[in-house]
């Protein structure tokens, strides 16, 4: 694969993008970070990303709407949901709508690396997971 893995990261708390961007860059991903869901949705209309990482609870547009849009517009894109309000019903709803994975905050960079490396395998990328399954 010559193109790097493209990742859109959306979280309305800017600190999350600031912390996770270097983690994803180190994995060799090309990352675009958004803290405004509307701008993220505009970008998703223009470009198909390999992976979308999105927070769930946000103002105006929530992560479930982002998930639904991406699954409809770009069915090959892997969507990873992250939330500080994890609960069984929300996790099940996300999986039913086609999420690739669901992570509860707080999580460690290693947790994210593991999930990204699993999603990357689908595109033929071999990213070293910290704890290969």
């Amino acid at each position: 694969m010559s193109e790097p893995l493209s990742v859109l990261l959306l979280d309305d708390e800017p600190i999350v993008g600031k912390r996770l961007r270097p983690v994803l860059n180190k994995l060799g991903c090309e990352v675009e970070v958004f803290d405004d869901p509307k701008l993220a949705m505009q970008r998703l209309q223009e470009k198909e990303f390999n992976i979308v990482v999105t927070d769930i609870r946000m103002d105006d547009i929530d992560g479930m709407q982002v998930l639904e849009y991406v699954r409809q517009q770009w069915p090959d894109t892997r969507v990873i949901m992250i939330t500080g309000y994890a609960m069984m019903s929300l996790a099940r709803e996300a999986m039913e709508k086609g999420a690739f994975d669901f992570l509860a905050k707080p999580f460690t960079p290693d947790d994210l690396r593991k999930v990204i490396s699993m999603a990357a395998r689908y595109y033929g990328f071999d990213i070293k997971s910290p704890d290969p399954d």
């Binding site: 994890a86 609960m87 069984m88 996790a91 099940r92 709803e93 999986m95 039913e96 086609g98 999420a99 994975d101 669901f102 992570l103 509860a104 707080p106 999580f107 947790d111 593991k114 999930v115």
Partner: protein, 271 residues
């Protein structure tokens, strides 16, 4: 892929359905054969373990305490094996301690009160007319026990994802419905649900360490952080806190231990 925890009003009926579901899905079956392994590992009898799943321990504190320890041994063994997906679990009370794990589908097989009374009369060798009264007493005692031990009331419908009534369904149809439901993506395992399952196992392991010294202990774990609640007389609360920390820290996978001590004087005043 999911875990399926099946429970039933009549053990044998549920066993057949759980077995057939596992076979049809190509899943592993986890049943009461596990009790022999637990008995051997912990030098207890299989009968004691089976009793801890089936009957209320009564009111004697020593028996209640022993029953809690035995139930916890089963939970640890069961949860260790359930870390692997694609398993149908039956007869180990797993539906009571998998609450909150989103890839665990909990199924209950319902029989009519008449069918249950007939089953009880046959097992106990008693006249059919006497069975409903005993059944009612046992149900009340079981609900109380499940609430005290697992924090879940097994008669609460919201505990189950699927309830199948065998008065209107053939057992083969019940198997089909379980297999169809298991194919739903909402029961797929994910990082969060696997962490929930791991947390439940860690909580049981910590409880196993603490129960012999702290019979009233309550343990919960979230993402490796352990919260322990015990009661104590005020004069040795600090000493007990330290002991809990030390014992709990011996369990692998723990990041932090928080210990809350409730004054026993307060409890007795309230009571």
């Amino acid at each position: 892929m999911p875990l399926i925890a099946v429970s039933a009003d009549i053990y044998e009926t549920g066993l057949d359905i759980a077995h057939q579901s596992a076979e049809k899905l190509g899943y592993r079956f986890l049943g009461r054969e596990l009790l022999a392994e637990v008995a051997q590992e912990h030098k207890v009898t299989e009968k004691e373990l089976l009793d801890s799943l089936q009957a209320s321990p009564g009111l004697l504190p020593r028996r209640v305490r022993r029953r809690r320890e035995l139930s916890n041994l089963i939970q640890v063994a069961c949860l260790e094996r359930l870390q692997q997906d694609n398993t149908v679990c039956y007869g180990l009370g797993a539906h009571l301690y998998l609450e909150g794990v989103s890839h665990a589908m909990r199924v209950h097989i319902i029989s009519t009160p008449q069918q249950r009374a007939a089953d009880l009369a046959r097992k106990e060798g008693m006249p059919l007319q006497q069975a409903p009264k005993l059944l009612k007493r046992r149900d009340q005692s079981d609900h109380k026990w499940s609430k005290e031990t697992y924090g879940s009331d097994d008669s609460e419908p919201s505990l189950y994802d699927l309830a199948l009534n065998l008065t209107t369904l053939e057992p083969a149809k019940a198997v089909d419905l379980i297999c169809d439901a298991a194919a739903s993506s909402k029961f797929m395992a994910m990082t969060y649900s696997k962490q929930c399952l791991q947390d439940k196992l860690t909580a049981c392991r910590v409880r196993q360490k603490l129960l012999p010294s702290f019979p009233d202990v309550e343990v919960s774990v979230s993402n490796g952080t352990v919260v322990v609640r015990i009661s104590s007389l005020p004069y040795n609360a600090r000493k007990k806190q330290e002991k809990v920390r030390q014992l709990a820290s011996e369990v692998p996978g723990i990041n932090y231990v928080e210990v809350h001590v409730t004054s026993r004087l307060l409890i007795s005043k309230r009571g």
